[in-house]
Symmetry: D2
Amino acid sequence: MCVSCSFGEKLRVTVFGQSHSAAIGVVIEGLPAGEAVDMERVQAMMARRAPGGSDVATPRKEADVPRVLSGLVDGMTCGAPLCAVIENTNTRSGDYAGLANTPRPGHADYPAGVKYGGHNDLAGGGHFSGRLTAPLCFAGAVCLQILERRGVNVAARAQRIAGIQDAYCDPAETDLSAWGAGGIPTLDPKAAERMKQAIMEAKARGDSVGGVIECKAVGLPVGLGAHMFGGVENRLSAALFGIPAVKGVEFGAGFAAADLCGSQNNDAYLSADGEVKTATNHHGGVLGGMTTGMPLVVRVAVKPTPSIAMPQQTLNLATGRVGELVIGGRHDPCIVPRAVPVVEAVTACVLLDLLLIGR
Amino acid sequence: MCVSCSFGEKLRVTVFGQSHSAAIGVVIEGLPAGEAVDMERVQAMMARRAPGGSDVATPRKEADVPRVLSGLVDGMTCGAPLCAVIENTNTRSGDYAGLANTPRPGHADYPAGVKYGGHNDLAGGGHFSGRLTAPLCFAGAVCLQILERRGVNVAARAQRIAGIQDAYCDPAETDLSAWGAGGIPTLDPKAAERMKQAIMEAKARGDSVGGVIECKAVGLPVGLGAHMFGGVENRLSAALFGIPAVKGVEFGAGFAAADLCGSQNNDAYLSADGEVKTATNHHGGVLGGMTTGMPLVVRVAVKPTPSIAMPQQTLNLATGRVGELVIGGRHDPCIVPRAVPVVEAVTACVLLDLLLIGR
Amino acid sequence: MCVSCSFGEKLRVTVFGQSHSAAIGVVIEGLPAGEAVDMERVQAMMARRAPGGSDVATPRKEADVPRVLSGLVDGMTCGAPLCAVIENTNTRSGDYAGLANTPRPGHADYPAGVKYGGHNDLAGGGHFSGRLTAPLCFAGAVCLQILERRGVNVAARAQRIAGIQDAYCDPAETDLSAWGAGGIPTLDPKAAERMKQAIMEAKARGDSVGGVIECKAVGLPVGLGAHMFGGVENRLSAALFGIPAVKGVEFGAGFAAADLCGSQNNDAYLSADGEVKTATNHHGGVLGGMTTGMPLVVRVAVKPTPSIAMPQQTLNLATGRVGELVIGGRHDPCIVPRAVPVVEAVTACVLLDLLLIGR
Amino acid sequence: MCVSCSFGEKLRVTVFGQSHSAAIGVVIEGLPAGEAVDMERVQAMMARRAPGGSDVATPRKEADVPRVLSGLVDGMTCGAPLCAVIENTNTRSGDYAGLANTPRPGHADYPAGVKYGGHNDLAGGGHFSGRLTAPLCFAGAVCLQILERRGVNVAARAQRIAGIQDAYCDPAETDLSAWGAGGIPTLDPKAAERMKQAIMEAKARGDSVGGVIECKAVGLPVGLGAHMFGGVENRLSAALFGIPAVKGVEFGAGFAAADLCGSQNNDAYLSADGEVKTATNHHGGVLGGMTTGMPLVVRVAVKPTPSIAMPQQTLNLATGRVGELVIGGRHDPCIVPRAVPVVEAVTACVLLDLLLIGR
């Protein structure tokens, strides 16, 4: 009973659908008119998120072919809201029967049941499902193209999975060419290999693992955002916490900054080629809620997939007795690789919004 | 040119003022009518944030006596917006002259100058100053009293300063009686002593330190918040990033959850005294964006105060030359102790909003 | 480049689509969970708005069968946003070619062309088309059912068309049984007959006529809404002006109140059956932005359809020459009858929102 | 318990205070930085609204000298929210005692009492008082100066009082030099004289009269606003209904358009000096929710002051008995003259917001 499917001010993204409803989709309001949308690139972005792409993900196959209902004329935005829908075809609602009384640990089942008086859609997690991130990827893929034409590039990577770190990347570095590629998008292919192994091991024992995703944006003009509650961090964190399983958001040095001294954490200004830059980038491209022109660096913590094959303890709400729960169905042993493009997408939407709001 | 002084939906808090303007203040819209406001408790909360209270803080003295202009009739809310102002008396604007062209590292000076075309108020950081958190404390102190009458308690502590940890506190624990007290509010007084020492050492060498603040709320009903973008985490993080120097926000196990397995991180349900509880509280009281009835646990990373006495390198925007900058004035070597009540206050405002929105 | 397809706070209605896009539709967020939706009644409401229903309307036939993509489980709301789409089948885009340079008087063509840099969808008026009111009717039909279960009834009528008045109806009267029926929904069938004749005459000479729609809601609790900018009138007028061709909105005695004395316009309080009522209802059920328990009475002025068959003068933006414009296609000589259910629908959506917001 | 003291998107105006609270005031967020504010002109605008200025208004004297607390540096906006407060000095709270149980007809007393459970501030109408329009005038006076520098002028007049019409003014006319002057601001001084007489007659018999205010804005660029719910009419009407006593809002021909034919109401395009204009201006400068470049024409219906000296019938809510009510205090026999600058002010705020939002 709460309006929470939308984010954005001048560019507003509204997501709808349930895991097993007829379709899911997105309405994007506020796109500038006259922008070409390359649907192949949109499809490619969505494919990065789609399940079935690799052995570290759920074997479920989803076609995930978006159909644009409005907002484009001859492949170009026309100022009207862009709506795209994705039909839900491959559903197995039988897997989820009987969950109403035995809430799955780590899932929204219990509070959702209370909130909606038992009327919420249980199949596949209903509107709490990670499937809702598919339309987010659509929206992000559209925004990324518009950002690019304005000189802004956004990319994300799996910085850590199961405690295994990807290669260090200087937060001040602006080259994103190596970002975002591969089944597990890391900068170091060997790290991806070790991560994959850790994921497969977790899967083998019916468990799951989490990780940290880092997202970077370069080319942003100085002075976007604002002080206090309408700043870059406020808007980005509010949107990023909308991605299921995200439990933390940090900018620049983030939580590590808490252990630094001011003399270490402050980024000294210097002039490079006439542009104002800082020698280091502990601030992650944001000061006082505003972009500084340095790369924006944001990191999100992704918890391990709550759906695990191992038996878990839960409460039967009808009987009041605690018992064992075994979750059926096919699930990702690690959601991080598929969440990388989602983080990229959500960040792109927020940044385009900030760019349209302007200084 | 961006509306960002407000947060909240049904309860909206709007902060105004600059560090050295005639006054600063807050407008609180949406308070339920008929709620008594104990101004002594409000004053006590504000005193916890006020400078000059201890030797770990800036020696500036601010009276910070709020004057209520509207919204109360005989000490009780009347449904009209509550406005309170705090006069600015102890100002030393001379300290800040000449900063326009030499932006202080770690401060908002540079992006603000670009954003506002040089028209922003430089004195004391203008509206980017930490002084704006005083009206936030006022708002929080009012909300805390209303929350208490509804069975909700909120408290915060310095969980870490300069790398020194406070005592461990079980996230599932609901007793808050030991929280929030002392010049450096910790659970373990010895930790506070060691933190104080680290702060004084940093001060002695003209440096500063940061830390992590943990905030806990108990007594929240199940099912507040919502999925995706209007949930507890979205609203809280968006508000908390409005506190100057906050660079990260995490819930429950937060970033640590990224390194756990699902079987470790999932919180098993159990029934205690007829209530639904979880054995552990890695989820920090929020699942699917909704409260679960377990204690809400949120942590924010506070960077070290950017104003340090040590000389720093900056760029002279007028000459294009890099040079040494020495920041005058009196500054907190560690903002964390004074930020603890601010985090508590902002959290209280957001939680009362969620409570008023309801399920 | 402006977010304006949505209205509502706790219940948010977002409309998308263009006259000739693949489909049009609506996303309704914030519907309470557990509400049955009778799709036959929804369809009946939409049929009242659909073209082709009578000889006073455009002969275009639109199937207008909505397909629900999400938000319902077994015909019941589940707390997830309800999305419904209507495919666009009967389109004649050829009619609108070449309008880019010769804006139609009374239409949005000229300012839209400037706003969107010529990239707006011209076919059928694009997203400025009256066709977008079909999804509004869908949303309203859903809200009406939920309102009814809470004791609130909403109905509208053509109070005036082409200067011909419908029968007088006491604004204090709560019986709505005679409202809303007929091809031209009036209380007096003879008035409808005369209106129809006037419409046919206008059509015969290639012209069009306008009118006034009155909408009434009974059963509202006292104290919904708020003072100043969030009141019943603010929200309703903002939404009602979203219906194409609406040029005025008034409540209760409205503009006529301007010519009354206070002693005439004030509604004396009296007690009827224990309920607080007023003897008259010049205030139209709203005082200080809040519902009073008396019937809500709102009236909207609908301008004559700007698309007329008579030749009109316009400017060729390319050549700078003024010339004659003949608008092809089939158009309603009077939009009022079809707009009656739209006004009812929009009013229902706003009232359900106010009810969900509560006191 | 409802956030409704604010309006605006990029420029947000928040009003606070009660008739007899310590002070009233306004927070204006989103003003562009670097704009000079001439406080004498602000004061002059507020004086037009202030009581005691003429014998057609209440003899209460209010100093209404605003004190700026924040947002200006050396008389220039600095990007921080501008807060101004006006102390309440001349209050007679005794007049209003005992109103809790005998609601005044035409006032908000009854629904406010229900909404706020009897906790609302009764003195002087609390936060429903017309006194809250003083800070609105402050905000408008600031916005008017910024608009002027961008070539936009706004003015209002009493178009009708007690049924007496001011001179006709062509809606297409752009000269505003004769607008806004005089104790009763009309174009024809004789009309003002007759209006004054009618007001004095009403006053003499203890009654009151209403009227219609017309507001015009010239110099607006083409394409501001948007289709459907975020357009010029939606935003303006939502704000204008926030002025106490407004019962109707219309644009261009407004309700009169309902009785016109399309061939009469449509405004033919023509080219004048290279600019696109229409021969007539029935559309009032707005088509499809967007500005057309023609003068914006908006009219509001103001009901007669509900506070009249004549005895009225009301209900004693405590006893359930109907009885006679005599309202003490000093009241305006006609609020229209003082409301003229308020309409101008609110319109200016909304138009500056639209200008800042841009196309």
